[in-house]
Assembly symmetry: C2
Homo-oligomer: 336 residues x 2
């Protein structure tokens, strides 16, 4: 059983012909512009339905020179943070603005111009990006072509919505210090512009506590990369008694690496993640983590995007959200 597809999708001209009015009227009717009699409007809708007419958003955007769609760039869909951001963005956007074009990075380990290009070429009106790995300068260049709202990362000169990573890292490290840990390691991500705050805060706080920071960097931001880096870290000499990771994916990687070596958590190793993803909350995982309020970040990003769309000349938005440490059962007093 096959279904024959219409040869040529119906256009406004077809509808106009069917009803016996001009194309203009049809266009007006569909956009709710005043100046169409109710009678005509109804007749148009009726004919449209009969003909299976569908509004062509691309053609409309071209003709009106309006960039109506919102582009959403996400680094990695497997990381729950990004789906939360998406959900937040959607909550903030009104129905009308809900033409969301999503683009997901192909490379979690580095820059990815391709995904952004596709958004630019789709002529979106604004790009909400979580998380850009490109250098600040590149982000600013991008922002000259199309407005950008940077989420989870602050970029000077570009609308930014991000967590106070210094405060977040401080809460995490101080929690571990308070438990008596001294050999606290940090599992960082690859060091891109704007993604070093957690690491720097960790190192600074360790130093002010008179301790030596020990940082290892994973090759990208995935669970797997975290696990590889953790395996090395834990196998090394002077194994840390606690690890603070750049994100929850890494923390899950550390868990797997630790268990694979026969270590227990928090018995042999205390663990603090970052994101407070849904997985962290599961019984059996119970990961202590820094909640960066991803949904909230998304919501704010959405509203910032709307403001920018309405007023291209408005001052740059700089919205910093305070994250919150959520203590669960992956951390315990130091045994030593």
């Amino acid at each position: 059983m096959t279904f024959q597809r219409q040869q040529r999708p119906a256009t406004q001209a077809d509808v106009a012909r069917e009803v016996g009015v001009s194309r203009t009227l049809v266009s007006f009717a569909f956009r709710g512009t005043s100046g169409v009699s109710d009678e005509t409007r109804l007749a148009i809708f009726d004919a449209a339905k009969r003909l299976g007419y569908r509004h062509n958003a691309a053609a409309a955007a071209l003709a009106s020179k309006q960039r109506t769609a919102v582009g959403l760039y996400l680094l990695d869909l497997r990381n729950e943070v990004f789906s939360d951001v998406l959900n937040g963005v959607r909550l903030a956007l009104p129905q009308a603005r809900n033409r969301l074009i999503l683009s997901v990075s192909r490379s979690i380990g580095g820059e990815d111009q391709g995904a952004l290009d596709s958004l630019i070429e789709a002529r979106v009106g604004i790009i909400i990006a979580a998380t850009l790995l490109d250098p600040d300068e590149r982000v600013r260049e991008l922002a000259q072509m199309v407005p950008v709202v940077s989420v989870t990362r602050r970029v000077e000169g570009v609308d930014s919505v991000y967590p106070d990573d210094h405060a977040g890292a401080r809460a995490a490290v101080e929690h571990l210090l308070g438990l008596g840990h001294t050999r606290i390691a940090h599992l960082a991500g690859p060091q891109f512009d704007g993604h070093t705050v957690r690491r720097e805060a960790y190192e600074q706080i360790m130093r002010s506590a008179g301790l030596t920071p020990q940082t290892v960097a994973a090759s990208d931001f995935t669970h797997e990369a975290g696990e590889r880096a953790a395996a090395e870290l834990l196998a090394g000499p002077d194994r840390p008694t606690a690890v603070f990771t750049h994100n929850d994916q890494f923390a899950l990687g550390v868990r797997e690496a630790a268990y694979a070596m026969g270590l227990t958590i928090p018995g042999d190793l205390s663990l603090v993640g970052y994101d407070d993803s849904p997985t962290a909350r599961l019984h059996g995982i119970d990961l202590t983590s820094v909640d960066l309020h991803a949904v909230e970040l998304g919501k704010i990003a959405g509203s910032v995007a709307l403001e920018r769309l309405n007023d291209p000349g408005a001052p740059i938005a700089d919205r910093c959200i305070t994250p919150q440490l959520v203590v669960r059962r992956s951390t315990a007093p130091s045994a030593s």
Copy 2:
């Protein structure tokens, strides 16, 4: 510090004027069409760069009447199955076809015409949908407007790529039967067209084993809905000793509900999920689950989409993948 945006984005006409050639040449140069001298081509690229020219995909699609973009409809980003499908699709699509427009449902509990409409109005060439909740008839109507590849669900008359849910459910239930369980409950999703196979298979297999099926249906496909349904199920009389759930999200919900009641897994309750999501594999979760090979489903869907695009008249694809039970530590012999 603000960055001035260009008033009017450069067009091919601007580039042509700059170089002193016709618009056609510029168009040719950008699409790699033969018939442009290397010298001209280079001059064009150079000028384009200088002017900040960006190809306008929307205008190009309009003019060429080609529907180049691929629309991807996903039910729920928080469910790892769907990100896996996305990743699979992307693996299958060649670079050129990688203009992926993603649309995520707003309602995990029911139909969602809005998300599909936005894909239609964006004039995508094909929609890869995972998972459609609409009635079969509606999906077929949709497929008349634009080709559809239905993923994780078989729809008669529409290209479909899906797991053999009967076999998957059988493997799960027989595993539990083999462990000596007799009071095996099933946590089903809301009963939409095409989403009843797992449930029906469960009930049929229970009956052929001379047992009484006990099915409860959650209100949508999320962890939370699963947890609510599970709380009721486990609090009821004649508590089951094993639960087989429609998906892993539900299984995670059952876990939480069980632990909240002081039950242990698999001590008091054996649990089998469906999806074999990354979370299922975590130490501390160790969920026995039916692997439906989501990445593979996505890959096949991508290649089916390409075939359909190349040959609109080809026979309907019907690709059924055999899922695989992965036994972990959430199932144990029945105590009774």
